[in-house]
């Protein structure tokens, strides 16, 4: 088994879950994950040494997800977001509610919240997102506050 195959088998599920939480759409997630691993494969093929493949994959995935979220935001009209919101409140689906709350965040804040839910340390979050280590706590408390406000707005019982 080659080094790439080992890393692929070890990290595929984690990377897929990460992208799924951020992007949501299954097909888009599969594309993103495949692109990340193709980039990684080509990096190895060019003879580049990657000392921490896990970190590299996290960073590459978050960057691709940010690009995707920015593209989505560009094409998503305000009206369609309102329709989606109305549709979801009827379903009272918890997963859908958090998804909606996350969709109101800036791409970087969304990534931060997702990485936090993965149980990453501040140091790992900083390495994966490029946010300054000293700013992670501040940005995180602000992001959690925004999510809480969104829940309250949707009359969602948090506790």
């Amino acid at each position: 088994m080659s080094r790439f195959e080992e890393i692929y088998a070890e990290n595929y599920k984690t990377i897929f879950c990460l992208a799924k939480k951020i992007v949501g759409n299954q097909d888009t997630v599969s594309d993103i994950v495949q692109e990340v691993f193709i980039d990684f494969y080509e990096m190895l093929n060019r003879g580049n040494e990657i000392h921490y493949p896990g970190r590299w994959l996290y960073r590459a995935t978050t960057n691709k997800c940010i690009d995707n979220l920015r593209k989505q935001k560009k094409f998503q009209g305000l009206q369609s977001l309102k329709d989606k919101e109305a549709e979801l409140s009827d379903k009272e689906d918890r997963a859908a509610m958090i998804n909606l709350a996350l969709s109101k965040l800036e791409p970087r804040e969304k990534i931060l919240a997702v990485l936090y839910s993965e149980g990453l340390s501040y140091k790992e979050i900083a390495a994966a997102t490029g946010i300054k280590f000293s700013s992670v706590g501040k940005m995180l408390s602000r992001t959690l506050k925004k999510i809480e406000n969104e829940f309250t707005k949707q009359r969602y019982e948090l506790y």
């Binding site: 839910s117 501040k138 408390s141």
Partner: protein, 148 residues
């Protein structure tokens, strides 16, 4: 004493605060109920958000086989590049033709150099000056003539 800032509360509950910060927070909450309540609220919020976000992940049962499909590479040459290549070819052609012509001229050329053998005497007519002529033919043969 000032109350604990939100970002420090976050660092404290995530175990990311330094030992000095931990001492400050724990000392402060012994006499500030408001901050103690804020910490508890933030801890619950963090745990709840983590749990809710984790609802979004669907465990992927199977890892798909990694296959790189590479189609035949298309050799696309832009118009700019074609112009560049044509210009380079023209320049090369010009250089080859120019040097070739010069080479031909050299082969058929007979060089004649005339000079006065001694100092010119201004009081004598040109026909009476000692003139030397050097002739170099196309094969590089050298001949010297003196005219008196």
């Amino acid at each position: 004493m000032s109350c604990i800032k939100d970002h420090l509360i976050q660092k404290y509950i995530d175990g990311e605060a330094s030992s000095n910060e931990v001492l400050f927070v724990e000392g402060h909450i012994t006499h500030c109920e408001r901050c103690a309540a804020k910490i508890e609220h933030q801890r619950k919020l963090s745990n709840r958000v983590k749990r809710e976000i984790n609802l979004l992940s669907v465990p992927q049962a199977q890892i798909p086989e990694f296959v790189i499909v590479r189609g035949p590479r298309k050799h696309f040459i832009s118009t700019g590049r074609i112009v560049y290549y044509a210009a380079a070819a023209c320049l090369l052609l010009f250089i080859i033709v120019f040097y070739h012509t010069r080479e031909e001229e050299k082969i058929n050329e007979v060089t004649m150099i005339s000079d006065y053998a001694s100092d010119v005497d201004a009081n004598r007519p040109v026909s009476q000056q000692e003139l030397s002529i050097y002739i170099i033919d196309q094969h590089g043969n050298y001949a010297e003539y003196f005219v008196q």
